[in-house]
């Protein structure tokens, strides 16, 4: 197959610009005030719930949720609720016209429970009333006859940790015949031999929590029935095109009868991926049935129990190393807890498997991963997507190995990390763009690592300090999970202003700003010429989902292609108008356009556009980019899972109070190789914001259930995300720009990578502060809560030393 034109464009711009320093660009890598900053400080952006004001005669939809975590439904009696004042109608599974399923990857999740409920949060009925209050009150009157079944809250009740075989139990998904969602494996080299030859072997068991996204905007949806039988849905979602698919399924309507608009988003972090489908489908069902606008809004508690969490993990790891400090082999058994439904579980499990040996040269590996159902809130997408879990385990192992070998953790890593020319464990050749070594060196320097490591070891008393390092890598975009494409359209209006359309959502991460920086750089126009359109399935191209750190690379490439095509047309015309020697001699520095050798003789941007309009030069371009198909062999876990990887090194400094077990983060340094910095503000905010979120994951955030499966901490006072008083004084941020041939100007993604290495760097710092070797093995669980750490401190009598 010949290479598509868009690949040529992206690669040629990479080669043309790879020697240019980032500081020499106009917009690439610059600090630009983001497109929505002024409206945001003025409180003006319209988030979904802000639209409710503007709607006349709406109905309110309340989801009545299961009171049992696992039960058969014998019958549902809605008659009392229907008689309640203000109630218009009650919907149950019988009222779904299409397919009653909102499963994201596999159809395992009824929108309205029919035969069974599988967690406390399953919707059994929708009560629709004239006010939300009435709908809620009437919801109490829905009477469901349940036959309770055993509740499983621990994945190790479903699967044996040694053999990973399914245990005898009452199936949660009896229709599937198994509660094992997916299995993945890696089989590379000769692991037995590696362990036989090893001088040092380190093994341990690790666990990580089901982290809650805790985005501040709870879910909301507004569905408006249209006169032609179609429906328009405003909904909090990261992925409007996925919402359309889900709604189409539930309503039995073709895609073009469903219009999805994603207003401003108050955070997503992956959590707004599939719950958007659910609230959109519920509201659309009601709106079309009752021919009135239908509103859904979640309280914080409803939000917490209705959207997915990060998969909790339990893993056994065993590593072998030679006396020279070289990694010889790794063996791992990993159990992920996907909760009641699959959500994105199969993909999360795959990503976890791919990354399960860390950014190291590993020639012998045996990894088995299993993702199982339990009766907890479903786990799905969360920034990092399976990768923070395995990196926690791997990076703790690396520190333990270094300790056993008597090497500094940094030195040990430098002996084993991936560099240009190496192959990943999957056999993928990394022929360029691996900036990990440089990232480590800079992080070490910026953090003053060696000096502090020594200093902290000499400190006495009940409050000790530690400094720890972790490295990471993260495959960009969706890899072998599915069709990996993106698209945008750029429209230059006749007055020279520019309309920018993409299906990419800005949930706060600012990736649309990256796209503008790219378009502005290529076209040569000030960024203020651009207006960003909201994602609207009726008018923007399908950019693919806003997930997987893919926007800057994938949608960035599509933007680059669209802008490049426009620029080619304009260059040719301008060259003609100005009499330049060739079109590539044209400089656009809007409002001025001139030949490179005659800057004093210029035409204006507006004149050029007007002329293009009359001459029929295209002023609207569609840009498309498709990643090369990924390759994955299920039997061996080898292939080319992702087209590129982001690398990073993180250093954290902590203070551990041996009397209480409380850990405070004092300082942090993050250095990421993101190929090329496109949007500096966004990149820095990711480095910092990812760190803060990772701190919560490392130290304070966990979800707790009662024995019957009720979430115990669905509020901000009981679910501890970091506050302004918990953050370290300063987070040093730096970037390595190793370049990537198929990224826009060489760029790679940073959205998810920014959380992957945080928890292990903090845990490693804590272990360093504990100092005693055996105690360090005890730091094998996150969050490292005070009570957990206190147990370790007590067990190894660290206070007395």
């Amino acid at each position: 197959m010949s290479r598509p034109n868009y690949v040529e464009i992206v690669e040629s711009i990479f080669h043309k610009t790879k020697h240019i320093k980032t500081s020499e660009f106009k917009y690439i890598g610059k600090k630009v005030v983001r497109w929505d900053a002024i409206s945001k400080v003025a409180g003006r952006p319209i988030f979904t719930a802000d639209l409710f004001n503007l709607v006349k005669n709406p109905v309110f939809v309340y989801s009545v949720r299961s009171k049992y975590a696992h039960a058969r439904i014998k019958s549902i009696d809605t008659s009392d609720a229907e008689r309640y004042p203000g109630v218009i109608r009650v919907f149950t599974s019988r009222d779904v016209p299409g397919i009653n399923d909102i499963g994201y990857v596999i159809p395992d999740q009824p929108m309205l429970a029919d035969r069974k409920v599988r967690y406390i949060g399953d919707t059994v009925a929708l009560v629709v009333a004239e006010s939300l209050e009435n709908a809620r009150d009437a919801g109490e009157l829905i009477s469901v006859d349940y036959e309770p079944l055993p509740v499983y809250l621990d994945p190790l009740q479903i699967v044996d940790f040694e053999t990973l075989r399914e245990k005898e139990h009452v199936l949660i998904h009896d229709e599937r015949g198994t509660d094992i969602l997916t299995r993945y494996r890696i089989r590379v080299g000769d692991v037995e031999k590696a362990f036989k030859e090893a001088s040092v072997i380190v093994e341990n068991v690790y666990s990580t929590p089901a982290q809650e996204h805790a985005y501040l905007e709870p879910e909301a949806a507004l569905a408006i029935p249209e006169p032609d039988g179609s429906v328009t849905i405003y909904v909090k979602t990261q992925c409007p095109f996925d919402v359309r698919r889900a709604v189409s399924n539930v309503l039995g309507l073709p895609y073009h009868m469903i219009r999805v608009i994603a207003p401003a988003l108050g955070g997503g972090f992956g959590g707004a991926e599939d719950v958007g489908n659910e609230v959109a489908a519920k509201s659309a069902l009601v709106a079309l049935a009752l021919k009135r606008p239908a509103i859904i809004i979640h309280t914080r508690e409803e939000s917490t129990i209705s959207h997915t969490k990060r998969h909790a993990m339990k893993a056994y790891y065993r590593h072998a190393a030679g006396r020279d400090g070289r990694l010889l082999g790794v063996e791992a058994r990993i159990v992920l807890d996907t909760g009641a439904y699959a959500s994105l579980g199969p993909f999360v499990a795959w990503r976890a498997t791919v990354h399960s040996t860390g950014p190291y040269r590993v020639e012998n590996a045996r990894v088995d991963l299993v993702n199982v159902y339990t009766n907890k809130i479903p786990a799905g997408a969360f920034r990092g997507f399976g990768n923070p879990q395995v990196h926690f385990a791997v990076e703790r192992q690396m520190d333990l190995l270094a300790e056993e070998l008597g090497l500094d953790p940094v030195e040990f890593r430098l002996k084993n990390i991936l560099r240009n020319g190496d192959r990943t464990v999957h056999g993928q050749l990394l022929d360029h763009g691996v900036g990990l070594e440089e990232a480590i060196k800079r992080a070490v320097e910026l953090s003053n690592y060696y000096e502090k490591r020594k200093l902290y070891e000499s400190m006495d008393g009940v409050v000790r300090r530690g400094i720890g390092v972790a490295v990471m890598y993260h495959g960009n975009s969706i890899g072998a999970e599915g069709a990996d494409y993106s698209a945008v359209s750029i429209i230059i209006n006749r007055d020279g202003s520019i309309t920018f359309r993409s299906g990419t959502t800005d949930m706060g991460q600012g990736s649309i700003q990256s796209l503008l920086n790219i378009a502005g750089e290529v076209l040569g126009v000030p960024l203020s010429y651009f207006k960003v359109e909201l994602p609207d399935t009726a008018s923007v191209p399908d950019s693919g989902p806003t997930v997987a750190s893919r926007v800057t690379v994938m949608t960035g490439n599509a933007t680059l292609v669209a802008a490049y095509k426009l620029r080619q047309g304009l260059n040719a015309l301008a060259s003609e108008m100005l009499g330049c020697r060739s079109p590539d001699q044209v400089v656009i520095e809007a409002p001025r356009v001139y030949c490179i050798d005659k800057p004093e003789k210029y035409i204006t941007w507006r004149e050029l556009i007007e002329q293009a309009f009359w001459k029929g030069i295209p002023l609207q371009e569609y840009g498309y980019f498709r990643a090369p198909p990924a390759e994955w062999h299920d039997e061996t876990g080898t292939g080319q899972p992702y087209f590129t990887y982001t690398f990073g090194a993180i250093v954290s400094e902590v203070e551990v109070d041996l009397e209480t077990g409380i850990t405070r983060v004092l300082g942090a340094t993050t250095v990421y190789d993101i190929g090329r910095v496109i949007n500096r503000v966004g990149a820095e905010l990711h480095a910092i914001g990812g760190y803060v979120q990772g701190m919560g994951y490392a130290l304070t955030e966990d979800t707790y259930y009662s024995p019957d499966g009720k979430l115990l901490n669905p509020s901000f006072s009981a679910y501890h995300i970091p506050t302004v008083l918990d953050i370290p004084g300063k987070i040093n941020v730096d970037f390595v720009e190793a370049g990537f041939v198929r990224g826009p100007f060489g760029a790679k993604g940073l959205g998810e990578p920014s959380i992957v290495g945080i928890a292990p760097s903090i845990a490693n710092a804590i272990a360093h502060a504990l100092r005693q070797k055996r105690a360090k093995y005890g730091v094998n669980k996150i969050p490292v809560t005070p009570d957990f750490l206190y147990e370790v401190i007590k067990k190894y009598e660290l206070k007395k030393q």
Partner: protein, 259 residues
């Protein structure tokens, strides 16, 4: 109100808004050897008063710095904090070590009740129908006395606290003339209370860090019971109670220039 909305407690028949009296009831004054605080004084009001300027009341600064969040410090009231009557009522914990009482006013007149008698059980102060708390009062502490409050948890703020404690101490040289200690909960009833056994142990002795260490180790395990829940085990809470009391005592002493 949140509890009413979330249907966790029965809605009352009448809900009377007493915040209209905020102007009259938000004072802090020293009067006839008593410190008097209007029931509707907010933590912010306290922060603007002598309570935050005089070392004899230093514990008030500690409570303030750990109380809710800054904006909530403009909304909460000292009377409300007491009437809520739970182990999370930080001011209640502190006021115990000042031997505080509350003035109650109802249709049948007025009465003054010591805090320890006021709280019957969790969320249940001894308020008669038609009665409201109008004032909190306690004897003005002598010079040479100070107090401290300790609260810590997984994160810094917007937390319940693993084991909250308050200490009041009066020294003569290094001799402990008077000492009062209170906890968010001394038993499984989860209401704040005094730790008299520990107070008696310390009274009259010469202050030293070792003494405090020894005292908490010896007395707390036998005089305090802590509950277990999903957040932390009773055993850990008990350990933290020792740390909390030790630290609040040391902090109070440090404020007196000892340590």
């Amino acid at each position: 109100m949140i509890l009413i909305r979330d249907k966790r407690i029965k809605p009352p028949k009448y809900l009377v808004d007493i915040l209209r009296f905020r102007d009259q009831l938000s004072y802090v004054r020293l009067e006839n050897g008593y410190v008097k605080i209007g029931a509707l004084a907010t933590p912010w009001d306290l922060s603007q008063s002598i309570l935050h300027r005089d070392e004899r009341f230093a514990g008030f600064r500690d409570v303030w710095s750990k109380f809710g969040t800054m904006s909530l410090r403009f909304m909460a009231t000292i009377g409300g904090n007491i009437a809520t009557a739970t182990d999370f009522s930080d001011y209640l914990v502190l006021l115990h070590v000042y031997n505080a009482s509350v003035r109650l006013r109802g249709v049948n007149g007025e009465r003054v009740v010591p805090l320890e008698k006021l709280i019957l059980e969790r969320r249940k102060p001894d308020l008669k129908p038609g009665e409201i708390i109008t004032e909190v009062l306690f004897p003005e502490p002598p010079v040479g006395a100070s107090s401290a409050f300790e609260k810590f948890d997984r994160r810094s703020i917007l937390v319940a606290g693993l084991a909250n404690s308050a200490s009041y101490i009066q020294l003569e040289g290094k001799r402990i003339i008077d000492v009062r200690i209170s906890l968010d909960t001394t038993g499984l009833n989860r209401i704040p209370g005094r730790l008299r056994e520990l107070e008696d142990y310390l009274k009259g002795r010469e202050f030293s860090a070792e003494l405090i260490e020894k005292a908490v180790e010896e007395v707390i395990p036998r005089s305090v019971a802590k509950y277990s829940d999903w957040w932390a085990s009773g055993e850990y809470r008990l350990e933290m109670t020792k740390v909390s009391v030790k630290r609040s005592l040391l902090k109070a002493c440090k404020r007196l220039g000892v340590v």
